[in-house]
């Protein structure tokens, strides 16, 4: 894939060092970073959060806050030096020669301006000689180029009218507007579903081949790197620990940290579909047979329509969408049941309905021996503490004003129902079990790392002595290495206490690793279900197959 190296690299970063000028932490954030980028090359920069990879990207495009100061080294773009901080020199380069794509496609676009206008203004800003009409023609051409169907019709649409994948395509179109030499893509697919991610990566690859643009791909996801990067730069704590050709790094990493990163990636095991005999039982009637013991939670016939919000200036057109359509699930006692689906599939909604945090106009939820009508709120007082939730982002699910000990004590008192003063032994035992130092009890959430916060969230759920834990993407806000630890902890503590768990995730490998049974959700329906082994190796459901195939191949065994 790599083109023959030119005499002068397009971009050359030499011994770059950066520090952050702030009263509290003058710590350096980049040390001695050196690399080169050739024309038409995709360079992956990988590392965990805090590794300095985004800072490096911002330094190249000149978008760093003025508090950042370059201490050493140079950035040479096309033979000329570029400033690291936000100065006028780089704004000549910005948009025209180097542009960027950010992770959050929703936040990258101005919500109040039509996508056509945003494209047009970028084209005009990077090319003053064009007339408005030419700019419009070029904008339409770019929209078609990145694969937006019917650009003429979508031109006046606003960002919220596009799906996530299409929004990211618009962002890519804007990044291409100035015909740049380099695109810095900062986690361009992390906010997208697996199948969409695959399409976007394919689009980037095509763009490189057709236009010879170079891409610096900043990511934490080894899968993305393996999919499209020509070369990789592994970063840790502001330093480059290893760099080289992608296949070499992935197959024979020399650095221990790289090896750790690679090992921590959950891998999907796909055995070849076994010939017909084996357990015919599971294959013929998967949905009712996926639990071996009596179910502890069942949801029957749960349906919910999207509730329209806001002012309506036009009458409703077309059909009303369904968040859930006649969903039936059974959660086996003492086991982990996975619910998998892409965003908007209803997987989170069903979890919230089971937990009593959301209502649905139709359906029934049974927890243990109690049956509940799901159409009403506030009906779960009798169940207090029996069902607990672990949310995706511990940074927002913990009360920022309460210390860790206060949060945990609250759970023990109001969940497990212990009297004040009796919480201490429980709390200490749990903190020890989950590897939280006792001294953390006096801290507030913002003083903890992401992994520590999620441990606290798990401790809070378990301390209420629940029968059922619903974990909604509990690891997707965490770095891979931390993710592996948290998954292990969840697994152990659930089995130790004989708790039933619903594990909601978009990550197939994680679900396969953890869950004994799986439900695959799509557009508010249960698309496929069955024992985990069956689903991942033998399911004939085309949607299930497409989800499995969307995984980067290097990480499926």
């Amino acid at each position: 894939m790599t083109l023959e190296p030119a005499d002068i690299p397009l971009l050359e970063v030499k011994n770059l060092g950066l520090r952050y000028l702030s009263a509290s932490s003058p710590a350096p954030i980049l040390h001695d970073v050196s690399f080169e980028l050739g024309r038409g090359e995709i360079l992956g920069i990988i590392g965990e959060s805090g590794a300095g990879k985004s800072t490096l990207g911002n330094a190249i495009i000149g978008l760093l806050a003025p508090e950042f100061q370059r201490t050493t080294g140079t950035i040479q773009f096309d033979g000329k030096a570029v400033g690291a901080a936000d100065d006028s020199g780089s704004s000549n380069v910005r948009g025209r020669r180097i542009s960027a794509i950010f992770q959050d496609h929703t936040a990258s676009l101005d919500p109040l301006m039509s996508v056509g206008a945003q494209l047009e203004e970028t084209i005009l800003a990077t090319n003053e000689t064009l007339s408005r009409r030419d700019a419009r023609a070029r904008a339409l051409e770019l929209m078609a180029r990145v694969g937006i169907p019917e650009p003429d019709r979508r031109y006046r649409d606003y960002p919220h009218q596009f799906s996530g994948g299409q929004r990211q395509r618009v962002v890519i179109a804007i990044a291409l507007a100035g015909s740049p030499d380099i695109i810095i893509a900062d986690e361009p697919t992390s906010a997208l579903d697996a199948t969409v991610q695959k399409q976007i990566l394919g689009l980037l690859r095509n763009l490189v081949e057709e236009t010879h643009v170079s891409i610096i791909l900043v990511t934490h996801d080894m899968g993305v790197i393996s999919e499209i990067a020509d070369r990789v730069l592994v970063m840790r704590n502001g330093r480059v620990v290893e760099q080289g050709v992608t296949s070499t790094i992935l197959e024979a990493p020399r650095n221990a940290y790289t090896r750790g990163l690679l090992a921590a990636v959950p891998r999907l095991r796909i055995s070849k579909p076994v010939p017909e005999k084996k357990t015919g039982r599971a294959r013929t009637a998967p949905s009712s047979d996926c639990d071996h013991k009596s179910p502890t939670v069942t949801a029957e016939g749960v349906s919910k329509a999207f509730s329209p919000q806001g002012l309506h200036w036009r009458p409703h057109q077309g059909t009303i969408g369904f968040a859930l359509r006649d969903v039936n699930i059974q959660i086996a006692r003492g086991a982990i049941t996975g619910i998998v689906g892409e965003s908007g599939s209803g997987k989170t909604t069903i979890g919230r309905i089971v937990a009593g945090l959301d209502t649905a106009p139709a359906g029934k939820v049974t927890i243990g021996d109690n049956a509940f009508d799901v159409s009403q709120n506030g009906r779960r007082t009798g169940l207090l503490g029996r069902v607990q939730m672990i949310f995706q982002d511990p940074a927002v699910s913990l009360n920022p004003r309460m210390t860790i000990a206060e949060t945990l004590r609250e759970s023990i008192r109001f969940g497990a129902g212990l009297a004040p003063g009796e919480e201490r032994p429980d709390m200490m035992a749990m903190m020890d079990r989950l590897g939280l130092a006792r001294s953390l009890g006096d801290r507030h959430p913002h003083q903890l790392s992401g992994g520590q916060k999620q441990r606290v969230a798990i401790a809070r759920a378990l301390l209420a002595r629940p029968e059922i834990v619903i974990a909604d993407e509990p690891t997707s806000a965490l770095d891979v290495s931390v993710q592996a630890e948290i998954v292990q902890l969840l697994k152990e503590s659930i089995t130790e206490r004989n708790i039933s768990m619903i594990f909601i995730s978009h990550d197939l490998a994680l679900v396969q690793d953890l869950c004994s049974a799986v439900y695959i959700f799509r557009d508010g329906r249960v698309e496929d279900s069955g024992p985990s082994d069956f689903i991942f190796s033998q399911s004939r459901n085309p949607y299930t197959r497409s989800l499995i195939d969307a995984r980067p191949h290097r990480f499926t065994h």
Binding site: D110, P111, E121, Q309, L311, H312, W313, R314
Partner: protein, 325 residues
């Protein structure tokens, strides 16, 4: 259609509001005192005179019947006759409207752009000397009482320098059958100080809102993306940041404008500006119930209308409101 149902909902809310307001206003003014003593000459009136006046004003009836009578009259468009001026009450309020409307409008026309631009600049230069100066001045401008501000303006602008008159409307010109000061140079000259007195606190309020909005919006990814795409920072500020911060600003402009129509009493009194606020206070003091009720009704309608305008603006500005499905 959805739009009609929204409008109907709005209207029924407005009627409910008017009803509640009229009950509160009616009971309130009833419990302040008996207006008869402001109508007859207390020193010379005989008990018979007072009795006759009471019957003439309908004050001998129980209060609920007086209220029903009032509502009945209002439905037919009649707010009654002022006890004091012996003029139709609603006409009296309307005759004060031009003075109030032009004062409030000019104050807001000054305050909204000045406040927004100051806020945008302060937010953009977050933490600099300019930002800190704007922030501190705005705290000061918001916390000084309006009577003191008005008197300082008179002291500086009228007494010490003699640049502006200290009160009155000055000469007016006729437009649409009403007299307006802003149409003559002399009238504008008279408008300056009271409009400033009303505008200064609003400048401060709007600047603070615009500043915090700017800081928030400019920390979002899309403004960073705008810089990455090579837009100039001026274009980002006015074309992207400004629309995105304008919802709270317009809300506050609507509320404050309504407030100025109704409750600019202090400023109107100090500058002897014959507006609605001054009329309301005078009428309450004189227990001139028809005028009080007419004024309160006008104010309620004005607030409802302003809020509807603000909502309409949201829909014009934000496609997510306009096209929500």
């Amino acid at each position: 259609m959805a739009l009609i149902s929204v409008a109907m909902g709005r209207l029924s809310q407005a009627f409910l509001l008017l009803l509640v307001m009229s009950v509160i206003g009616f009971i309130g003014i009833h419990s302040v005192g008996n207006p008869v003593f402001n109508v007859v000459n207390i020193e010379t009136a005989t008990p018979e005179d007072i009795q006759r006046a009471t019957i003439a004003l309908g004050l001998d009836q129980p209060v609920w019947r007086q209220y029903l009578l009032f509502i009945g009259n209002v439905v037919t468009g009649n707010f009654g006759t002022s006890y004091i001026y012996h003029l139709p009450a609603f006409g009296l309020v309307m005759s004060k409207l031009p003075a109030t409307l032009e004062l409030a409008s000019i104050a807001m026309l000054v305050a909204a752009p000045v406040g927004t631009v100051l806020g945008l600049l302060a937010g953009r230069r977050n933490g600099t000397l300019l930002d800190r100066t704007i922030l501190k001045t705005s705290v000061f401008a918001l916390s000084i009482p309006s009577f003191w501000l008005s008197m300082m303006l008179i002291l500086l602008g009228a007494i010490l320098t003699g640049w502006f008159p200290s009160g009155g409307r000055g000469s007016t010109a006729s437009l649409l059958g009403q007299e307006w000061s802003f149409l003559t140079w002399n009238g504008l000259w008279h408008l300056t100080l009271p409009a400033l007195a009303l505008a200064i606190p609003n400048i401060a309020l709007i600047a603070r809102l615009a500043r915090s909005g700017t800081i928030e919006v400019e920390s979002l990814d899309f403004t960073r993306f705008c810089r990455a795409k090579g837009l100039s920072s001026r274009r980002i500020l006015f074309r992207h940041t400004l629309p995105n911060i304008s919802v709270p600003i317009v809300t506050v402009i609507g509320l404050q404008f309504g407030g100025m129509l109704a409750f600019a009493v202090v400023v109107e009194s100090i500058f002897a500006w014959p507006g609605i606020g001054k009329l309301l206070i005078d009428s309450i003091q004189l227990l001139d119930r028809p005028v009080v009720m007419a004024t309160l009704t006008f104010i309620s309608v004005a607030f409802v209308a302003l809020n509807a305008l603000v909502d309409l603006f949201y829909a014009v500005l934000d496609p997510r409101v306009r096209l929500s499905a």
